[in-house]
C-alpha cells in the first residue's frame, strides 16, 4: 500500500478515535478539548514514526547482505 493511502488511513483512524471520545466521554468543553488534543498528538506521533520508517525504506542506498553463519 502506498504512502498516501496509509497516511489517509491514519487520518481516518484519528477522526474515528476523536468521534468515539466525544461520544463516550463528553464531559464539558475543557475536558473535550483535552481529549481532542491527546488524540491528535497521538495520531501525529504514530503517523510520523511510521512515515519516517517507510520513507527511509522507499529508495534505500544499501541492501541486506546476509551473514556467513546463516
Amino acid at each position: 500500500m502506498g504512502f498516501l493511502v496509509t497516511t489517509l488511513i491514519f487520518i481516518v483512524v484519528g477522526i474515528i478515535a476523536s468521534l468515539c471520545a466525544r461520544i463516550c466521554c463528553n464531559r464539558g468543553p475543557s475536558a473535550n478539548l483535552l481529549h481532542l488534543t491527546l488524540i491528535i498528538t497521538a495520531t501525529v506521533c504514530c503517523w510520523m514514526m511510521w512515515a519516517i520508517v517507510y520513507l527511509a525504506q522507499m529508495k534505500p542506498l544499501i541492501v541486506p547482505i546476509l551473514n556467513e553463519t546463516e
Partner: protein, 704 residues
C-alpha cells in the same frame, strides 16, 4: 500502673538472685561443716561444684575453725554478677587484695532479666573469702562498681534453709502479684485499643485546625479573626454557602464575611487533575510548578513522554510484559490504594497510567522496529528483498535485491541478522531522532508564542518568537527537509557535507550533493536569515523596554512623595517601580544576551541531544539480541532438557531485570530529560507555586 509493676519486678528479680546466691553459696560453705550436714541440704544441688572445689574446700577446712563464728578470721561476701564481667571482676579483686582472697564461682541455673537492659542475661554466683576490714570495704566498692549485687548468706545451715524457704515463699507471692498486674494491664490496653485510632484522628484534626487558626490575625477590636487566602473562582459560591451553613450550625450571632480583594502577589497555580492525568502533572511539577496562567506542558507530555520512551524501548514483546504489569496495577487499583505500600510499590502504583501508556506505545514502536524479544516477524506481508537468483550465491557478498514496494509497516524483517543491518538502522534512527527533535522543539517555540499572546506581550512575539523560529528552522528545519528529500529521491548526497559547506563556502557549486533545483540559492537565503535572526533576538528588546519605561515614567521625575494611593490605579507590576533607576538597562541587556546565546547554542546542542533516542534504542536492541542469541538459542541447541531449562531461566531473569527494569528506568529518565530540558526551556517559566488547600482527607497522608 507501670511504675508499680517496675518496682514489683525489681523486687522479684532481687529475690530470684538472692535465692540463687543462697543455693550456690551454700555449696561453697557447706564444706566448712561436716559431710553429714551436707546431706541435709536439698538434694537438687549441683554436686559438681562440691567435687571441683574439693581441693580448695579442703584447704578451707584446714584454715577455718569448725565453728561458723569466725568474725576475726576469714570472712566472705557472696553475691551475683553478670557472667560477662566475671573474669575482670576476679582479676580486679585479686589485684586489689594483693592475692589475699579466695574466689569461688558457679553459674546460675536460670537466666535473669537484667532490669537495665530488659533482656535475659546469664549470671554467675560468686563467693569471695577474705580477711581484714580494709579488704572488706575494698571488695564492697569493687562489687558496687561492677554492678554485682551482694546478698548476705548466713553460715549456719539451719538458718540458711530457713531463709531459703522464706525467700521461696516470698518469690512465689510476688510472682502471683506480678501476673495479676500484667493481666490487669492487658485488659486496660485492650479497651483503650478500640478507641485509639479514633482518638488519634480527632487529635490530628484538632491540631490541623489550630495550625490554620494560628495563621489568622486578630482585627482591631480583638473580637474576631481575620484571614486572607486563595480560592478558585469556580468555588466561590460554594464557599459562601458553606460559610453560611457554618454560621447557622454553630448558631453564632455574627455572620462570617467573605470578601474578594485584589491581590498584589501572583496567585498559586491549581490544575485539576484526575487519577489519569495526576502522574503527568507531577512529573512536570517536579521540574517546576507553572507560573500562574502559563501554558501547561503536561497536556502534551501525556502523549509525547510515553511516545519518546517507546522510541527508546521499542520491542513489542517487552511492551506486552509492561502492559501486563500495568493492567495488574490498574485492575487492583481500589485494593492497592487503601493499603499502605512501601516506597517502591507506591511509586509504581502512582505511575500505573504512565506505565499503561508507555507499554501501549512500546508495543506500537516494537511493531514498527519489528522486534519481538529481538526476533523479527513477517506480520505485514512479504519482505521487500529477495535473492538475485535461485541459488542465492551472491547473497553473502553483494546482498539481496529490492524487488517490490517497501515493507508496508515498519522495518523490513530481512534486515535482522544481516551484515549491513547496523549501517542501515543507525542511519534510519539517527535521522528519525533529528526529525522528532526538530518537531518537538518547534512545538515548544510555538507554545511560547501562545504564552506571549495570552499575556499580551507583543514584544516577545516580535523580537523573540519570530527570530527563534527563523533561526531554528533555517538551520535544522532545513536539515530535516534535506533528510526527507534524500529519502524520497534516493539520492547519494552526503548531508554532513551539505550542512557544513553551507556555512564554510555557501557560494560553491554543489555538484554531487545537489538534491533539488535551486538548492544553492535557498541555502544562501537560509544562511542569511539565520545570521540576521541572531541580532534580531539580541538587540531590539532591551532598547524598546528602556524606551517604554522612560515613556511611562516621563512625568514622574519630580519625586513621588510617599502617598501610595496614586499607584492603585495603575497596573500592579508598574506600581513596584516608583523610581527611575529601578530599570537597570545593563541588567536587562545582559539578561537578553544570555537568553539569545543560550538559544543559539542550545539549538545545536539540543538537536544533538535528541540523538539519545537513537543511542538508547540501539542499546536496547543489541542487549535484546545478545540475550536471545547467546543465551536462549545457545541453550536450545543442546538436546539436554536440563540445559534448555537453565537457558530459559537465565534468559527470563536477564530479560526481566536488565531489559525490563533497568532499560525502562533508563529510557524513562532520558525521555524525562528530553522533556524537562530540550522541550520546556523553549517556553516554560516554571516559577509558580502550588495551590495547597486545607483538607482533612490529606491529613492522614501528610502525617504518614
Amino acid at each position: 500502673m507501670n511504675s508499680n509493676s517496675e518496682k514489683l519486678r525489681q523486687t522479684y528479680n532481687e529475690l530470684l538472685e538472692f535465692k540463687m546466691v543462697l543455693q550456690k553459696a551454700g555449696d561453697f560453705l557447706v564444706s566448712s561443716g561436716n559431710h553429714a550436714v551436707a546431706q541435709e541440704t536439698e538434694l537438687s544441688e549441683n554436686v559438681y561444684s562440691n567435687d571441683s572445689y574439693a581441693d580448695s574446700a579442703s584447704l578451707l577446712e584446714e584454715e577455718m575453725q569448725p565453728g561458723p563464728s569466725n568474725q576475726s578470721g576469714v570472712r566472705f561476701i557472696s553475691g551475683i554478677i553478670c557472667k560477662s564481667k566475671v573474669l575482670r571482676f576476679e582479676r580486679t579483686l585479686f589485684r586489689a587484695t594483693r592475692g589475699n582472697m579466695l574466689f569461688n564461682q558457679a553459674p546460675a541455673d536460670d537466666q535473669i532479666i537484667d532490669p537495665a537492659s530488659n533482656e535475659m542475661v546469664e549470671k554467675t554466683v560468686f563467693v569471695v573469702f577474705f580477711s581484714g576490714e580494709q579488704a572488706r570495704t575494698k571488695i564492697l566498692k569493687i562489687c558496687e562498681s561492677f554492678g554485682a549485687n551482694c546478698y548476705p548468706v548466713p553460715e549456719d545451715l539451719t538458718k540458711r534453709s530457713q531463709i531459703i524457704r522464706e525467700v521461696l515463699s516470698r518469690s512465689s507471692d510476688l510472682e502471683a502479684t506480678l501476673e495479676a498486674g500484667l493481666r490487669h494491664r492487658d485488659t486496660a490496653l485492650n479497651t483503650i485499643g478500640f478507641y485509639l485510632s479514633k482518638w488519634t484522628n480527632m487529635v490530628r484534626r484538632e491540631k490541623a485546625v489550630y495550625d490554620v487558626l494560628n495563621m489568622l490575625n486578630f482585627d482591631v477590636t480583638k473580637k474576631c479573626l481575620v484571614g486572607e487566602g486563595w480560592c478558585p473562582i469556580f468555588a466561590k459560591t460554594r464557599i459562601q454557602e458553606s460559610l453560611q451553613r457554618a454560621t447557622f450550625d454553630c448558631s453564632s450571632q455574627v455572620g462570617i464575611i467573605f470578601h474578594v480583594m485584589d491581590a498584589v502577589e501572583s496567585p498559586p497555580t491549581y490544575f485539576r487533575t484526575n487519577h489519569f492525568t495526576n502522574a503527568y502533572q507531577e512529573i512536570v511539577d517536579a521540574y517546576g510548578v507553572a507560573k500562574y496562567q502559563e501554558a501547561n506542558p503536561a497536556v502534551y507530555t501525556i502523549i509525547t513522554f510515553p511516545f519518546l520512551f517507546a522510541v527508546m524501548f521499542g520491542d513489542w514483546g517487552h511492551g506486552i510484559c509492561l502492559l501486563l504489569g500495568a493492567l495488574v496495577l490498574i485492575v487492583r487499583e481500589k485494593k492497592l490504594s487503601s493499603q499502605k505500600l512501601d516506597s517502591f510499590m507506591e511509586m509504581l502504583f502512582g505511575g500505573r497510567y504512565l506505565l499503561l501508556l508507555m507499554s501501549l506505545f512500546s508495543i506500537y514502536c516494537g511493531l514498527i522496529y519489528n522486534e519481538f524479544f529481538s526476533v523479527p516477524f513477517h506480520i505485514f506481508g512479504h519482505s521487500a528483498y529477495k535473492c538475485r537468483d535461485a541459488t542465492c550465491s551472491d547473497a553473502y557478498s553483494v546482498g539481496l535485491v529490492k524487488y517490490r514496494d517497501a515493507y508496508p509497516f515498519g522495518v523490513d524483517p530481512s534486515w535482522r541478522g544481516s551484515r549491513s543491518e547496523l549501517p542501515f538502522l543507525n542511519s534510519l534512527k539517527m535521522k528519525m531522532s533529528i526529525l522528532f527533535g526538530v518537531v518537538q522543539m518547534n512545538l515548544g517555540i510555538i507554545l511560547s508564542y501562545f504564552n506571549a499572546r495570552y499575556f499580551g506581550n507583543s514584544l516577545d512575539i516580535k523580537y523573540q518568537f519570530v527570530p527563534q523560529m527563523i533561526f531554528l528552522n533555517s538551520l535544522f528545519g532545513y536539515l530535516s527537509l534535506l533528510i526527507i528529500i534524500k529519502w524520497c529521491t534516493g539520492s547519494q548526497a552526503d548531508l554532513y557535507h551539505v550542512m557544513i559547506y553551507m556555512f564554510l563556502s555557501p557560494f560553491e557549486d554543489l555538484r554531487d550533493n545537489k538534491l533539488f533545483w535551486g538548492q544553492s540559492v535557498l541555502q544562501v537565503i537560509l544562511l542569511l536569515s539565520a545570521v540576521i535572526a541572531v541580532p534580531w533576538m539580541l538587540f531590539p528588546k532591551p532598547f524598546i523596554l528602556k524606551r517604554l519605561h522612560t515613556e511611562r515614567f516621563q512625568g514622574r521625575t519630580y519625586g513621588i512623595l510617599g502617598t501610595s494611593d496614586m499607584y492603585n490605579e495603575e497596573e500592579p507590576d508598574s506600581a513596584r517601580h516608583p523610581h527611575l533607576d529601578e530599570f537597570n538597562f545593563s541588567e536587562v541587556f545582559v539578561h537578553q544576551m544570555i537568553h539569545a546565546i543560550e538559544f543559539v547554542l542550545g539549538a545545536v546542542s539540543n538537536t544533538a541531544s535528541y540523538l539519545r533516542l537513537w543511542a538508547l534504542s540501539l542499546a536496547h536492541s543489541e542487549l535484546s539480541t545478545v540475550f536471545y542469541e547467546k543465551v536462549l538459542l545457545l541453550a536450545w541447541g543442546y538436546d539436554n532438557i536440563v540445559i534448555r531449562l537453565i537457558g530459559l531461566a537465565v534468559f527470563a531473569f536477564a530479560t526481566a531485570f536488565i531489559l525490563l527494569m533497568m532499560e525502562s528506568l533508563s529510557a524513562f529518565l532520558h525521555a524525562l530529560r528530553l522533556h524537562w530540558v530540550e522541550f520546556q526551556n523553549k517556553f516554560y517559566n516554571g516559577d509558580g507555586y502550588k495551590f495547597k488547600p486545607f483538607s482533612f482527607a490529606l491529613l492522614t497522608d501528610d502525617d504518614d
